[in-house]
Amino acid sequence: MLLQALGKIAQTLVVLFFVSVASFGLLKLAPGDPIQIMLGSEYSQESYDSLKTELGLDQPFLVQYADWAVRFVQGDWGTSYVARAEIFTYAFKEALPVTLTLASFSLAFAILIGVPLGVLSAVKKDTIFDAGSAVLALTGTAFPSFLLGILLIWFFAVKLQLFPVMGYVSPWENFWLGIYHMILPGLTLSTYFIAMITRLTRATLIEVMEQPYITAARARGEPSWRVVWVHGVRNIAMPLVTILGLQLGVLLQGTVLTETVFNLPGIGQMLTSAVLGREYLVVQAGVMMTAALFIGVNLLVDLSYPFLDPRLRARK
């Protein structure tokens, strides 16, 4: 068990290495010159060259990569010219908490709304309720989240003035105000996931409800709510967690748009402004963090399997 976990962690490091090489290379290929952007429109060739040497951009690719990697591992992620801050401190202290709050809110919405809706659709299979939830789910998957975000802001924040238009308050500092600020962005980002989880829950639960152990549970007089929630839902946990882990990538992608629409200073916004300002080091940091988050969560998903399905536990 421990050995397995260690193996998985080693795998994770290898994947992160390849991600770093690929993103480092892609950034070099991207059009736009960071030095030009830093210097503005008027500069001399001398100052251009000296800045290039200072930043190490005159070195060969491999040297540049090795130089970056060594510093990166040591936590020296460089300085952001735009934010005028240490990238490491900024990323972990400012950006990451925002994105994590947004992502966990969306995930919570998705599970709290998607699972019960999916269970109800499965139980009321082929009724008007089921058809209605299918239509809603399809709309949810098809509707672009940035448009939904703008519509939500227009209706709930501007028209009804129920929620703040944008901005971020940390729930760690002011819990209720933090939640209040997260409701609209959380809903925006989670629409796709609510829809996806509803459909997934419905499909897997319908399959589970045809299993002999469900009939057997009914046959020994278990009330129908217990048959569904205790015997049925318990057995869809594994596919649900697996898909959620894999779809986390889509969620992190979604944070970029949602953070922009709601002006939340998270990793998404950090990445957007860094890409526009050609801040390679910041982009690189953002990519690495997102990749680590994605791989880390999927590692947790893998490690959770034995808890979700007793058949996967090591035999005594």
Binding site: Y213, T215, A217, R218, R220, G221, E222, S224, P310
Partner: protein, 328 residues
Amino acid sequence: MTERMTDMALPPVLTLRDLTVHRGAAKILDRVNLSLGQGETLALVGESGAGKSTIAVAIMRLLGTAKVAGTIELAGEGDLLALTERQMVKLRGQRLSMIFQDAGAALNPSYTVGRQLSTTLRRTQGLSTAEARKRAIELFTSVGINDPEGRMSAFPHQLSGGMQQRVMVAIALAGSPDLLLADEPTSALDVTIQAQIVRLILTLTRERGASCIFVLHDLALASQSCDRIAVLYAGQVVESGPAHDVLEHHRHPYTQQLKSCVLEIGTKTLTAPEGTVPSHAQMPPGCRFSTRCPRALPRCAGEAPPLVPLRATAAGPLDHHIACWNPE
């Protein structure tokens, strides 16, 4: 055991009257009439698809979307088909319970067997957690599970097929039901364990004075272990009566075929009944066996024979019924 005579003075525990089940256009049970006395064991035999299991599942009212007609009368409750689902939930596990074909699939893989048994005990007997645990260990002991305390925390996949079926028997008996429905409880097991499980179920139900319906496809096993036998063919009861009579003095050509099939396995020549059961679309309106029957008369295909009692003879009691125009 086979000589146990049915005490007809006792009111029947269960009576099926014209039980008919449709699934879509197919009539999978056709006017089944059966009754079961207190403490009696009845075997339902026939080929696969004859509707044996359907009878058991219909009694539990767990057929889902299938259309069920007729009456299923349980002593003290009236017609089960007239009860609400809520009322049925109360009867399941308490007055009626069921043992399934494949115990491995009928146990929830996510919960320990101890938990599945003790929640049933807590619900049906109103026991506390500690009492239920104690009672569960007792039940595991009585169904022959060794190390019952250790097995409490085992998950279904950690047990052998025989042990899984013993757990199912314990769960089925947890609510002390009056009627136990065993749906081919041994077909997923090794031959050596099959006899043990059948004996276990019969001993435990007899000890508790419960009645039992055994779905089997082995006529010999049925006659050795049960009081009465009903032979089914394509959803109809073709012959029913005391086990000994049905095996030795059977009158229906289909029972003869089933029996000869069994006997010839003994002499190492395997013969199955000739032909196959017609599909529901091609089912003759009369006797459903007429397409394969060696004794079929012209009237058989068009006119359904009713299930009628045989005349009393010196050899057999009145209880023997057959549905045939040209009995042997």
